[in-house]
Amino acid sequence: MSRIYAIMIVVITMNDIFDCKLLIVDDGPELRKMVNEILRREGFMKIVSAADCKEARQLFAHEKPDGVILDVSLPDGDGFSLMREFRAASAVPVLFLSARDEDENRLLGLGLGADDYITKPFLPRELTLRLRAVLSRAYFPVILRRTEKPIFRLGETEIDLNSGTVITNNDRLTLTAKEFALLEKLYENRGNIVTGDSLCRAAWGDDLYGYENTLMVHIRRLREKIEPEPSSPRYLLTVRGLGYKLTGVEGK
């Protein structure tokens, strides 16, 4: 409840995630400074930082941050219990930044309800991408975001994933449910190979074994709809022994 309440208030006061006030808790001054710079460069302007639990508690109470980046080992306590304290007061999203990479620590952090866990050393890009994802999830949940599916072109063919239709120069075809599931998966990974197993999981919820022929049949039918020459495909390519690949995708 508290989380939904918080979201509703924030939605009113916040235009985008860069309006979020962030709290960085880490005992290394150089690291604090660097993270601060990375975040400012990315566009976050309201940033406060603390070197230990005590300072973090004070700042948390006064500044009421919208997101916390937390180190696990702190001089006067550990990040896990600090997160529990914060969470008791609000549903603030927490991202751990830890020098411990043991799986147990990662799982413990995520199990306690951390929104993400990054192991040091990290690339600035990894931090910003994950932070943005965490903040978007918390403050701009799916229901508030655009739910439209993409429309794209394969050569002369236009494909609308909203209606599941394929429009060529002189025809308009509808995709079946399985064809749609396969094409959507291929589109999400356009330019990359998608294994037969992933495609089968998307369409039938199972690995490839036992579905090889079924998958081949559905791919052939899909090609008949989207390829100008289905027998020599240009867009939906077979990668022998591995899977398929969708290439030549253009925006609308």
Binding site: I38, R41, K120, P121, L123, N192, G196, G243
Partner: protein
């Protein structure tokens, strides 16, 4: 405990065997003795021959020379008592032997002694031939049993033998059980020791010294075990600590180099240099986490999160990850799943197995900078899956093959980083084997053999 029961039964059987053998040997010896002494008594001439050689002619008795010699050799004296009780002939007769006998006198000595001389008699038509031996030289006894006893003896003899055997077995069993009881805690102690459990046996009783020895050995083992695990732990904690301490400064190196690399205000050459720093930092990052993983795998500290994994799916996924990550066109990755291995399942840690196969492919790529064809093959036998990663590249040197197939120690990392060591450790932790080989047509292959899962859907 099974071996103890075996020891006990062997012991009882051998004890019974010994008893039986003794019985038979004794019985045999008795028989031989009796026959022997009978023959001894028969000597050269028996009494009937001697008696016959004493002939009478007109009232005068003559003894043949040979008989005389025989009597002198075997006996002390001889005489002939006529039917009236008078000694009518004698030879070397001692003074204390009377010359006249009544019926009761004769009846008295015939079977026994005459004035303490053991005598033997032979009945002749003209009287009784008596041979006397030296006093105290023969012990005479008479045996007399009811007829029924002698009739039953045929049954009793075997019965007694069997009874003896049974008693021998029972006694052996009894003593054996006592020994067994006192050995049992010792056997348990040795078993415990093998299982690395501490042993504290009672040192009282027959086998007290032995028990004390076992206690001492166990204490020694426990001490050594503790010292070893303390050392291993210290090593793991040390490596984990070092890698922890490296991470934070490395974060800063990676962070700033990456920022410099992307800074549009810097000239291209400087940005490229920053890129080199960033990539090398990432290599250190990989090394640090590899070192950590290798040390944990080596000392069984890495948790293995087992689940059932479809190997074919795993391999296709790994190959596609490599191909999708912008692998140069000079590398080919081919995944070949044999027909019977399409649905092969193993029980294992997906992340670790993925890491093992990825390390092998990455190794082929790194050691063949000009490109190569990489072949990932999955085959299934009765109880194992064989998973091989082969390439058409430079292959291993003989020295590397020796090191990889017969690792001397965990810390032996010359030439080939930690990647392949980790592969071997991961496969070992899954109960499998790893084999490194060069191919005759060039290039090399690494064969991983994993036990298939019991829940394989074949």
């Amino acid at each position: 405990m099974k071996s103890m029961v075996k020891i006990l039964s062997r012991y009882v059987l051998s004890a019974a065997g010994i008893a039986l053998i003794l019985l038979v040997v004794n019985f045999g010896a008795l028989v031989v003795l009796i026959i022997q002494s009978g023959q001894d008594a028969g000597k050269d001439f028996n009494i009937s021959q001697l008696s016959e050689s004493l002939t009478s002619e007109n009232g005068a008795y003559t003894l043949s020379e040979t008989s005389r010699n025989a009597i002198e050799k075997q006996y002390q004296w001889a005489m002939l008592i006529d039917n009236g009780g008078n000694v009518v002939w004698s030879m070397d007769l001692p003074d204390d032997v009377p010359l006249k006998y009544s019926i009761s006198d004769v009846a008295g000595f015939t079977r026994w002694y005459l004035n303490d001389y053991p005598v033997t008699v032979w009945r002749r038509t003209d009287g009784l031939f008596v041979l006397g031996s030296e006093k105290g030289s023969i012990w005479k006894y008479s045996m007399q049993e009811p007829q029924t006893v002698m009739d039953n003896i045929k049954v009793w003899m075997p019965a007694v033998l069997i009874l003896n055997g049974l008693i021998a077995v029972l006694l052996a069993l009894l003593f054996g059980l006592r020994l067994f009881r006192s050995l049992k805690p010792l056997a348990k102690g040795i078993e415990d020791m093998a299982e690395k459990r501490p042993v504290e046996l009672s040192t009282r009783g027959l086998l007290g010294n032995l028990a004390a020895g076992i206690n001492k050995t166990s204490a020694q083992l426990t001490k050594q075990e503790a010292a070893l695990s303390k050392r291993d732990n210290a090593r793991i904690i040390w490596i984990a600590g070092v890698s922890h301490d490296i991470r934070t400064p490395l974060s800063i190196v990676m962070g700033y180099s990456s920022q410099l690399e992307e800074d549009p205000e810097l000239p291209q050459s400087k940005r490229e240099q920053a890129g080199v720093i960033r990539r090398q930092s990432e290599r250190i990052k990989t090394l640090v986490s590899d070192l950590n993983l290798a040390s944990k795998l080596e000392y069984d500290m890495q948790p293995i999160r087992r689940k059932v994994i479809a190997l074919a799916t795993l391999l296709r996924g790994i190959a596609v990850d490599f191909l999708n990550s912008g692998l140069s066109d000079s590398y080919f990755i081919d995944v070949i799943i044999r027909e019977n291995a399409q649905s092969a399942m193993v029980s294992g840690d997906e992340e670790l197995l993925k890491r093992a196969v990825s390390n092998l492919i990455a190794n082929s790529i790194r050691h063949n900078p000009n490109g190569c064809a990489i072949k990932v093959t999955l085959d299934k036998g009765m109880e194992n899956c064989s998973l091989s990663v082969s390439d058409s590249g430079v292959g291993f040197t003989q020295e590397m093959l020796d090191d990889l197939n017969h690792p001397k120690s965990f810390a032996y990392l010359e030439n080939h980083g930690l990647g392949l060591t980790i592969v071997r450790q991961i496969i070992k932790a899954h109960g499998g084997t790893t084999e490194f080989r060069n191919l005759p047509e060039g290039g090399c292959t690494v064969v991983l053999c994993l036990p298939v899962s019991a829940v394989d859907d074949n």
